[in-house]
Symmetry: C2
Subunit: 198 residues, 2 copies
Amino acid sequence: MSQVTCDLTISIDGFAAGPNQSLTEPLGEGGELMHRWQFEEPESNAAEREGILAAGAYIMGRNMFAGPGPGAWAEEWRGWWGEEPPYHAPVFVLTHHRREPLEMQGGTTFNFVTDGIESALAQAREAAGSKDVAVAGGAQTVRQFLSAGLIDELRLHIAPILLGAGERLLDGVANLTLEPTEVSGTSLVTHVRYRVIR
Amino acid sequence: MSQVTCDLTISIDGFAAGPNQSLTEPLGEGGELMHRWQFEEPESNAAEREGILAAGAYIMGRNMFAGPGPGAWAEEWRGWWGEEPPYHAPVFVLTHHRREPLEMQGGTTFNFVTDGIESALAQAREAAGSKDVAVAGGAQTVRQFLSAGLIDELRLHIAPILLGAGERLLDGVANLTLEPTEVSGTSLVTHVRYRVIR
């Protein structure tokens, strides 16, 4: 059965992004270093990288699409990923500001959802068909979905670095019971797959 | 070559102890739940449990020996572990208050060190001979040793529960570079062995 998954890379001290996120450092200071496992060891981590991009539809927070700071859309903003984003599937962006769907190359369409996470999930499920729906981030959005009990599998990729400050993934999430079902790793990352217990 | 090791069980949100540590709840509220892997799955986690108790000498903070709160010794206090503590080796307790060594049954002797962590480590190395020295806890003591670059191997046992509050293991530790060398686990714990990079 299709499920709702969430892949997230965090530091060993629990941060999903470093401090002072900005347009030039969207993952905050030091945040990019957490992702060395994806860029320096693509083959050793092939299964995990494929898992991240195997969903039939994605959900992301406004900041993950548009960078930090609230406010209406700069209509020319087309995401961080260039003209062919890696999703190759519908992406549902949570926002308070309406915007027409944005069709990119390679099958990615950004759809803007203004009526909340349950609506985004329903639309993503519909779009994904028999495939999984993935909550892509950022941390605040993941926390919302975890707190609402809407995620079935949390896949943490724990980078062996300390950020010391930034945005913690799990702060304020309550009533979450997890069961690790699989662990693996390399010298740059520890992968832990958690099933959310209902 | 013998090394300085540290085994610590933490929650998935990074706490080594829950909030409100007290004489009746020395690990804080919810803290005991992190240790289910030791008590409910002793056989599946046999290697890790043996690893915790394989050192030739131990170092611990005052609170781990005596419970929360500063002040001079209540001389009748003989630790949390009954008359035969599980260490079966010399234990060096960091404190500001002098006290005569306390010999327990089964080879454990608590020695009280008032001149700092370097001195405790030198004494523990001497006592351990060719065996490892283990920093047993609590979190504050581990942070001191990590920050001073005195630990060679950090073995985290990550319990799949959220504590939400309490004492974080890694807060304020700087200049720490780690490399995961081994991962394993069960449904109650994820074991990650980290080598500290110098």
